[in-house]
Structure formats: C-alpha cells, structure tokens
C-alpha cells in the first residue's frame, strides 16, 4: 500500500481541490438562485395560474360533464365509436376505483406539458432542419436531456422555483420534448428535394414552402414524435410527484414505500389508460387528416 504509483492507482484529482470545485459550483448556484429566483418565479406565474385554473376546472366540474367533454373530443378527433366507447369504459372504471380526482390532476398537467412540448418542440425542430449548424448544437443537448437522470436537475429546479406544479412541468417537458424535436427535424429533412424545387419553381416563398409543402409532408413523422412525447410525459408523472406534483404519481410513490402492490398496480393501470387514450386519439386524428396522402381515394 505504501508504494502506490500512478501505475497502480489512477492519478485522481486531490480530494481537497475536488471538494473546492464542488462547493464552488454549489455556492455559485445558490447565489444565483438567491438573486434571480424571485424574478424567474414571476416569469412562470402565468403558467402556474393556468395550471391551477385547468386543474380546478377539471376537478370542480361534475364528472359526467368532464367525461362527456372527453368523449366528444375523442370522437371528434377519431370518428370512431369503438374507441370512444373504450374511453368511456376506462374512465368509468377509473372513477369507480376512486382514482377520478388524481386522474384529472394528472390529465391537466399532462395536457399542459404536451401542448408546451409541441409549441416549443416543433419550431425548434424546424430550426434544426433548416440549419446544419443548429442541428449540431441541438443534438447533444437533446442527448443530455434524454439521458441525464431526472433527480440531477429536479432538486436544483426546486431550489429555484419551490416544489409543486411549475418545477414538475419543467422536469416533464425537459424529459419529454426531445422526440418531437428530433422527429420534426427528421420529417422535414426527408421531404423530397424535387417537390421543394417544384414549389420554388411555382414561385413559393420560403414561408409558403414550409407551411404548404414541408410541414404537411412531414406530418406523419411529426405526429409520431408527438406520440412519443405524450408517452414519455406520462411516464414522468411518478418522478414529478417526487417534487410534490399531485396526481396519479403520488399513490404510486406511496405504494412503493409501503409495499401496497395492488394500489400501485391500480394507479399504474390508470396511467396506462390515460396514455392509451392520448395515443389512440392522436394517432386516429393523424391518420384521418392524412388520408389524402395515400392517393386520396377515400378522403
């Protein structure tokens, strides 16, 4: 043990300097959150108000009205009686097993996360598709967002914004946004060059080419990305509940700490039911709006 050399032991940094680095960065972050926290919190206030409003709306409206609205949305998007009936049965079971309130809470936060991811993700994906430099910068960031363990950024976000919905939404969006960005980029890049040339030859402006040619042709790929985003957002529900987001994640956490397996299973299944509803509806909607792409024989 006394004859340690760099050959037998990795020449690692001295502990004191390592601690100095860790403490230095921690303190810098603490100072940052101390001086900027309140203003950053204020920026997110409208989002928080909207989240609270949506949750209250879903919770205080009578359950049959909410269910009717959901089914109307499902049918409107999918035009499928079978799917609508399946959704009714799933939600009735959820309510019957006493998970209605938590499901509504989860649904409100997931809806906001999904909308936010699409609103941010599609433009970023477009920027990425138009510029190779943007792509080379954004791709590694997306890699980090998808693989960095959530707790690494969860607690710093809590220090900045406190516990509750807003940090929960931020964590979910960080985790769930990459697929929609990646697939928007991919979809636009896959559009035939000749089609674009033809559009240019007709005198289409870049904006017209984007909105009229690239986006519609990329739509199936973008929809696949949105689907993945929804799924990933739902799977983050449990992690988000670790920083005080109410909803289906909380009973799951509770069941983990107490070995209430059935309770965990029920709430897990409710999350699955939500996921399947979101997935089938968005897919059916996409299929219906894109039918013309397949030769237009049954539009």
């Amino acid at each position: 043990m006394t004859t340690e050399s760099w050959l037998t032991k990795f020449p690692e940094m001295e502990r004191a300097s390592l601690v100095a680095i860790r403490k230095g960065l921690d303190n810098a972050y603490r100072d940052f959150s101390r001086s900027w926290g309140e203003s950053i919190e204020a920026v997110f206030d409208p989002l928080l108000m909207f989240l609270v409003w949506l949750e209250k709306l879903l919770l205080t409206s009578p359950w049959w009205l909410v269910l009717a609205a959901i089914v109307a949305l499902v049918y409107g998007a999918s035009r499928s009686w079978r799917l609508s009936l399946g959704v009714v049965v799933a939600f009735l079971l959820i309510g019957y097993f006493g998970m209605w309130e938590n499901t509504m809470r989860t649904m409100s936060i997931i809806t906001v996360c999904t909308l936010l991811s699409i609103a941010l993700g599609v433009p970023i994906g477009i920027a990425m598709a138009r510029s190779d430099r943007a792509r080379s910068v954004i791709t590694p960031i997306l890699d980090i967002m998808q693989t960095m363990p959530a707790f690494v950024y969860l607690i710093p976000v809590v220090m900045l914004l406190g516990i509750g919905k807003v940090p929960g939404v931020i964590a979910v969006v960080i985790y769930a946004i990459p697929p929609v960005i990646r697939l928007t980029n991919l979809g636009i890049r896959l559009v035939d060059k000749e089609v674009l040339e033809a559009a240019a030859a007709y005198g289409a402006t870049p904006w017209q080419r984007l909105a009229g040619v690239q986006l519609p042709l990329a739509m199936p790929t973008i929809m696949a990305g949105i689907n993945q985003t929804i799924m990933m957002a739902l799977s983050m529900v449990v992690i988000a509940s670790m920083i005080g987001v109410k909803g289906l994640g909380q009973p799951v956490l509770k069941s983990i700490t107490n070995q209430y397996f059935t309770m965990g299973l029920f709430n897990g299944l409710a999350i699955v039911a939500l996921a399947i509803t979101f997935d089938r509806v968005s897919q059916a909607y996409a299929r219906r709006t894109q039918r013309h792409l397949k030769g237009g024989n049954d539009a």
Binding site: M1, K9, F10, E12, R15, V19, R22, K23, D26, R30, S33, R34, G37, E38, L48, V52, F151, L154, I155, V158, M159, L160, L161, G162, I163, G164, K165, S241, M242, I243, G244, V245, K246, G249, Q250, P251, L253, K254, S255, I256, T257, N258, Q259
Partner: protein
C-alpha cells in the same frame, strides 16, 4: 470507487490473516446503507469495525427504512440495519422479534430522534411569537401556499412515510385548517429538503415537519414550534401515529426510538459482533457535529467514517475490547 477496491483487497488479506476462529463464526455480513447521511455514517463505521475488528466479511447494501425493514423480516436480509427509526414500522419489528426473526441490538441514537414542526430561526429572531403555535396561527398569512396565494401552506411529511400520518393527525388536532393552512405534500424527502433549502436561500417564511439528527437541521437553523401541550406519549402511540385515529389530540412528538436491529441469524452466529452493536450508540450533539462536517466537506459515508474513527477514539474505543480496538487502529493506520 478505487478506494472501495482497495478496501476490498485489504479486507481479503485481513480475513485471510486473522485466526480462523474469529472469521468463521462471523462470515459474510450485509449492512444496510440507508439513504440519509447519519445512517450512512453509522453503516460505514460498522462495516469498518466488523471487518477489521471482528474479521467479518462485511459489505454495504443500499437501503431505506421500509424496504430494508420488510426485507429483514421476510427474507432475513440484510443482516444489520444500523439506524432504524422503529416507530415508522413498529408492528413489523414487533412481529419480527416475536417470531425470532429479528433481534434488537440497542439504541443507535442514545437520546432518540427528534421530530416536530419547525420554523426557520431567522423568522423567530424577527418575531419571537412564531416559536409557538398560537403565534403561527396569528401570522398564518406569512406562510404562503406555493400554489394558491389565498391559502397558507404547511409542508408535511412525504406521502407514504409514517410521519405523514402523525403530521396529518397533529394538523387536524391543532385545527390549522381553520386558520387557512393546507397540507403541502412535498412528494419525497428530497422535495422536502429542497423546499427548506429554497426558503433559506431567500429567507422566506417556511413552516413544516422535519426531524433530527439530519444534515438539514444541522445546516439550516430551525426552531421547533411549541404546541403548549407537552408530550403525551400514550396519546401519541395509540392515536396520533395511527391512521385510524378518529379524534386526534394535541401532543408534542415524544423522542423517537432509533435502534440498531439485526437478524436473529446474525445475532446467534456472531455474538461478539452483536455485543459491539448493542454498545454502539451516538449522541445527537456529536452526530449533528459530524453531519455538519460531512456537509462542509461534501464527504460521503466512507470519508466521514475515517474522520470519525481517527478524531474521536474516545467515543468508539469503549464500544469494543482493547484487542479489537488495536486491530481497528492498525487498519486505520493503513488507510
């Protein structure tokens, strides 16, 4: 990581070189390394002393109160839970002891753990009335709910923990809802300590449940709110800590029992090592000091163990025989 490998190599040598009699009756021992600092420190101290002083093939395994306790009762693994807050799974432990699956070695914290409702020291410095529950009631508007500005927030214990029941019952007994308070579930231990860290970084008001000895209470000075009721231990045990408590009454938290628990198999297999565990107990003041040291140096359990064994020999040598202490000191010198 490299350090562990060296420990491992050293321990293999140590096991090989110690007389067969000592090594054989102890054998492989798993120690639960709980996911909070004080328990991790104790687990590391136990591992080092069992390994070098008693020739056990001691090994740390990750743990947490509920999973570890349940696994010890059901599967006989891990062998040692060095710091178990036994109130939180009282029934399971009592049953395990009655069925001769578990044996309680003794107190891990000699003064017991401290639980309560706390407010930051800087608030009490400004307004001493906040150290009592009546003062908090009167100033309820200060403690804003994170999601609803019209309400006041009380940060309770995370969902699923046993303290969620007692904190909820006390919240009801104190009728805090009448003053506009609402329970805020932080979701996890990390969420709760994160909320405290945020409040302290900006000197914001905070009111909630916490417990000691913890690095959080070592680092962030807080004042335990006086309910003016004193401790009614019987009421606490029979009603406050039970989910079925219909009519909770106000009582302060009694000191909670924090014990070292081992499996019956380990206790019979290695009586000498078990005797060490029954003597090994920390005082809260000393533990808070060690935890603060840990926090300041961002040390993990392994490093703080070395610091403790080297700097506080007067604390740990009485726990072991002179012969064992000699072996441990020899191993320490080789670190």
């Amino acid at each position: 990581m490299l350090n562990t490998r060296f420990f491992f190599a050293a321990s293999v040598l140590a096991v090989l070189s110690t007389p067969a009699s000592a090594a054989s009756d102890c054998g492989r021992v798993t120690i639960a390394d709980m996911n909070w600092n004080s328990a991790s420190l104790i687990a590391n101290v136990d591992r080092f002393i069992l390994k070098h002083g008693y020739g056990c093939d001691a090994e740390l395994v990750p743990g947490d109160t509920m999973p570890t306790g349940t696994s010890m009762v059901e599967k006989g693994e891990p062998d040692i839970a060095p710091e178990l807050w036994s109130n939180s799974l009282k029934e399971a432990i009592d049953k395990g002891v009655a069925e001769k699956r578990l044996r309680i070695a003794g107190k891990a914290l000699s003064d017991g753990g401290e639980e309560g409702f706390w407010v930051p020291q800087y608030m009490v410095d400004k307004d001493p009335s906040l150290a009592t529950i009546d003062g908090i009631r009167a100033k309820a508007k200060l403690f804003k709910h994170p999601e609803d500005p019209s309400k006041s927030g009380f940060y309770t214990c995370p969902a699923g923990w046993n303290c969620q029941i007692s904190a909820g019952n006390l919240f009801k007994a104190l009728k805090l809802a009448d003053d506009g308070f609402e329970l805020v579930d932080p979701g996890s231990g990390a969420g709760l300590s994160g909320a405290i860290a945020k409040a302290f970084a900006r000197e914001e008001p905070w009111f909630g449940y916490y417990w000691a000895p913890t690095a959080v209470l070592g680092k962030y000075k807080m004042v335990k709110v006086d309910f003016g009721s004193g401790i009614d231990k019987n009421e606490f045990l029979t009603c406050t800590s039970s989910a079925e408590c219909e009519n909770p009454k106000v009582t302060m938290y009694p000191p909670s029992l924090v014990e070292t628990v081992t499996t019956e198999a380990f206790a019979t297999r290695a009586p000498q090592a078990f005797a060490y565990l029954s003597k090994r107990a920390f005082k809260n003041a000393q533990l808070n000091e060690l935890l603060a040291w840990m926090e300041d140096n961002q040390a993990d359990g392994n490093i703080v163990m070395e610091h403790f064994l080297k700097s506080y020999p007067s604390t740990w040598t009485p726990w072991v025989s002179a012969e064992v202490a000699g072996k441990v000191n020899k191993a320490l010198a080789g670190l």
